[in-house]
């Protein structure tokens, strides 16, 4: 057995030991699982997956592709963990099992490609993305009335109506290093990949709002991908690389300055993911504590540190926007933020939020899940879009660029193709 294989198996045993004793197998996790809802079978429930992981750890079960299929069919929305009365973390167990599978059977090709692309150095990815931006129009055509794209030719795992965000000609972090006056208090901005390479308008909105509040925005250029895409594939080494790079980049602005994220998954990683994975890493561990404590979602910062009254005053009078709110899984279930984003949104829209049914339901993106399980992902998306459309709102607001991409894709296939999908910070910036 190679060292990597043994390490991954030992890690699985450790996580199984830490989580499985909490599970009394009541099955409460089944009912909140978006995957179980579409494919009712025990192997797709958190309870079932945890039992499978335990059997793998104890050597009662072999690492086969059929077993892997069960563990791969999960969005890692963490809804099960949030629901569980004894807080058993099926997501941790599933990720540890995926790592073990990656060592035993190798990474699936599609995940390998994504992992490779995102772990390259900042400069390399920047260059690649820029080249990508140049070539993108050859492969994709514009979506009418939107900055997004549809494909031009048949491609694997991309259907003809798949919405793809247009890559920016210049990544956000190339353009913006520090925005605002030096004498203002500053925040450190962790952009996330999507904001940096594609939805740069989210970054620009962040700058506009914070500068209007006389807060400077610092954008450390050495930061990179948070590592979530590699984590869900089970590529632990790549996650460690990403974590180390980000921790070093973010530590530079000192122990006090808040780190603001506009991406729910990125926030979840900085706050919990790194610590759970590398908390006892002798080199990385000591650096993590400060990072987690400094990290705040942008809506949380605006609600708690700035105050909703001040936001409302800044927004002032103006047109009312009919908005509904989609809770990103990694914001609501992983970071327990539900009131803050709604309060900020209501102020930005000058109107109470029109709640959709099941605002907490996953959008179905799940990182690479939308590529590896396209049919199920689309079914989960369809429910979400129908609920959003029924709310009567004209705009779906959320706080995760991944969700935005998935929702924009879904809206165009749904009953209200005219609905807009925006990050809450963007709605706020537009109201100023």
């Amino acid at each position: 057995m190679t060292d990597e294989k043994k390490a991954a198996l030992d890690n699985l045993k450790k996580v199984v030991k830490e989580e499985l004793y909490k599970c009394i197998r009541c099955g409460e996790c089944r009912t909140v699982c978006p995957v179980f809802r579409e494919t009712p079978a025990e192997r797709y429930t958190a309870r079932g997956k945890m039992q499978i992981a335990e059997a793998l750890a104890e050597g009662r079960l072999e690492f086969t592709e059929h077993v892997r299929e069960a563990l791969d069919n999960c969005l890692l929305c963490t809804g099960c963990a949030a629901q569980c009365g004894s807080e058993a973390r099926a997501d941790r167990v599933i990720m540890a099992a995926r790592q073990a599978f990656a060592e035993e059977l190798g990474l699936p090709a599609i995940k390998k490609a994504i992992s490779f692309a995102l772990t390259q150095g900042n400069a390399a990815l920047g260059a690649e993305a820029r080249v990508g931006a140049l070539f993108q129009p050859l492969l994709f055509r514009g979506v009418p009335g939107d900055s997004g794209l549809y494909r031009r030719f048949a491609m694997p795992a991309v259907d003809e109506r798949q919405y793809i965000p247009r890559l920016a000609a210049v990544p956000f972090r190339k353009r913006v290093k520090f925005a605002g006056k030096a004498e203002w208090p500053a925040v450190t901005f962790f952009t996330g990949c999507m904001t940096n390479y594609a939805m740069t308008e989210i970054g620009d909105s962040m700058v506009k709002v914070f500068n209007a509040l006389e807060i400077a925005v610092r954008v450390p250029s050495e930061q990179g991908c948070c590592g979530m895409p590699m984590l869900i594939s089970g590529d632990r080494a790549a996650v460690r690389k990403a974590a180390e790079r980000n921790v070093r980049a973010l530590a530079a602005s000192g122990p006090e300055e808040p780190i603001i994220v506009v991406c729910a998954s990125g926030g979840h990683m900085l706050r919990h993911g790194y610590h759970e994975l590398f908390g006892d890493d002798p080199e990385l561990g000591p650096l993590l504590e400060g990072i987690a404590a400094r990290t705040m979602d942008v809506t949380e910062y605006l609600a708690a540190r700035v105050g909703v009254e001040r936001i409302a005053a800044l927004v002032g009078e103006g047109p009312v926007l009919a908005v509904t709110w989609h809770d990103p899984c990694h914001l609501r279930k992983a970071q327990k933020l539900t009131r803050e984003p709604r309060a900020v949104l209501a102020a930005a829209a000058r109107s109470p939020v029109r709640e959709m049914a099941h605002p907490e339901a996953c959008c179905g993106l799940g990182g690479t899940y939308c590529l590896t399980h396209m049919d199920l992902s689309k079914r989960i998306q369809t429910r979400k879009i129908e609920d959003a459309a029924a709310s009567g709102a004209d705009c779906i607001a959320t706080a995760c660029p991944g969700c935005i991409m998935q929702l924009r894709d879904g809206v165009r296939r749904g009953p209200r193709p005219d609905m807009q999908v925006k990050h809450v910070i963007q709605i706020l910036a537009e109201a100023l």
Partner: protein
């Protein structure tokens, strides 16, 4: 061992996607929420239609393969653990609400519907499905019917059997029968519906149910009352019932439960408070002030120490906190708990608690009690604490026997499953047991449906 021919025929029947004999699938159908009982099935099949269920059961009869119907597998008594091997009949795909008939106050459902989903669906139409076992959010209506589940509202609204008007059932031999009807008054033939309600999947597989619902009460009021002793609380309960008010919830915590919860969440219990009642009334808003007054007066006459009323939803949550916190608060005392689910006639509760105290004393163990005072259902938690001493299992039998001696029952709402089979004769005499056995034999001549459950071996 299943014959390959049998597996092939199952696969031909439902297709590759809806049956499995893979090792990981056998592992994940080997359990329910019972802590100890586990047994591996030999296969699992997920039917989608009544016809498929019938065909599967016919095949199982032909090959004499045990079949275990399974809903949410949230039970505590190993009811869906395949102790004799065979096939798991996973009913997850029967998850549709087929008809909501507002005018007649009934709903037709498939058994795999999550009970909470049924409740939420009818709630939107101003209706209520009252039974609410603690597992409502994740157990299925089919499982609830098979277990005749109870819950917190039983004191006013009864248990699952009071809401099942009719059933479609596939008998173990594969025949499909229909019991009951949509009519409230219906005396046509024998009352077969109740034969299947609570039969724990041993007499037939429920594939459809006609469920009665009621108008949703306009409002709810929540109160707690604490007393020096459980005897005082018992007097208060008597006094409350004497006023004619029927609470929709009447829960209790005994002295140890109150202490444990106080230590865990500091809800403000005083040292002298040795019993807590959580009381709710529901109905038209205008009538509830009177009900609350009656209850407050009744408690006042019986030595109440603190009487609290919720004036808002937040305060209601606050009052419920103590009851809800119990399950995690007890982890402070021990992480190894034995529990039991028994019931006694409600007037016997104080006597029962005294007997439980004696058992605790005799075996040097800790026993805490809580549960549904209003319907006599006591949940007994037992432990040796944190000193690592093995639990004296005879104490468990003594608890159940104490209930029997007070005209109580060995199981109230968690079923017999495979864990209380050997105690059945404590409640059921020989001729009655014989009659039950002959029913089982008549419906399931080869004994293939959920063997090893409910009925002890002859």
């Amino acid at each position: 061992m299943l014959k390959q021919e049998f597996k092939d025929r199952i696969e031909a029947l439902v297709g590759k996607d809806r049956c499995s004999f893979a090792p990981e699938d056998l592992i994940i159908y080997s359990y329910d929420a019972n802590a100890e009982k586990r047994a591996m099935p030999e296969g699992v099949v997920s039917p989608e239609t009544t016809e498929e269920v019938a065909a599967i059961l016919k095949l199982a009869n032909e090959y004499e393969v045990p079949v275990v119907p399974r809903g949410g597998a949230s039970g505590y008594t190993g009811g869906v653990v395949p102790v004799c091997g065979g096939m798991i009949l996973a009913m997850d795909r029967f998850n549709r609400i087929l008809e909501i008939d507002r005018d007649n106050f009934l709903v037709i459902v498939e058994p795999g519907v999550i009970t909470r989903e049924l409740q939420e669906t009818v709630d939107k139409l101003g209706l209520m499905y009252p039974p609410d076992p603690a597992s409502t959010a994740f157990s299925t209506i089919g499982g609830n019917i098979a277990e005749n589940s109870g819950g917190l509202r039983a004191v006013k609204y009864g248990v699952t059997k009071n809401y099942v008007m009719g059933l479609e059932v596939v008998l173990p031999t594969g025949e499909v029968v229909r019991t009951g009807s949509k009519c409230i008054k219906d005396v046509v033939g024998y009352n077969l519906t109740e034969l299947f309600v609570g039969s724990e999947g041993t007499l037939g597989v429920i594939t459809k149910a006609v469920i009665r619902v009621v108008p949703k009460p306009e409002a709810v009021r929540t109160m707690t009352a604490t007393f020096r002793t459980l005897e005082d609380a018992a007097e208060a309960v008597k006094a409350i019932f004497a006023t004619g008010v029927r609470p929709s919830t009447l829960e209790f915590l005994d002295r140890i439960s109150v202490e444990v919860v106080e230590r865990a969440i500091h809800f403000g219990a005083k040292p002298e408070e040795g019993a807590l009642l959580l009381i709710e009334v529901d109905g038209p808003d205008i009538a509830l002030d009177g009900d609350v007054k009656h209850i407050e007066d009744a408690c006042g006459k019986c030595g109440v120490i603190t009487f609290r009323k919720a004036r808002s939803d937040e305060e209601r949550e606050e009052l419920w906190k103590a009851r809800r916190a119990l399950s995690f608060a007890v982890c402070e005392i021990s992480d190894q708990w034995e529990d039991d689910d028994i019931s006694v006639p409600i007037s016997r509760i104080p006597q029962m608690i005294r007997k439980l105290d004696e058992i605790a004393e005799r075996h040097k163990i800790i026993i805490y009690n809580f549960g549904h005072y209003g319907d006599g259902n006591i949940h007994v938690g037992m432990t040796t604490g944190k000193d690592g001493r093995p639990f004296p299992m005879e104490a468990k039998d003594e608890v159940v026997q104490a209930a029997v001696s007070l005209e109580g029952r060995i199981a109230a709402e968690h079923g017999i499953g495979c864990v209380k089979v050997h105690n059945l004769h404590w409640n059921i005499d020989e001729p009655t047991l014989r009659m039950m056995r002959s029913f089982k034999k008549l419906l399931d001549p080869k004994g293939i449906l959920n063997p090893g459950k409910v009925m002890p071996k002859e």
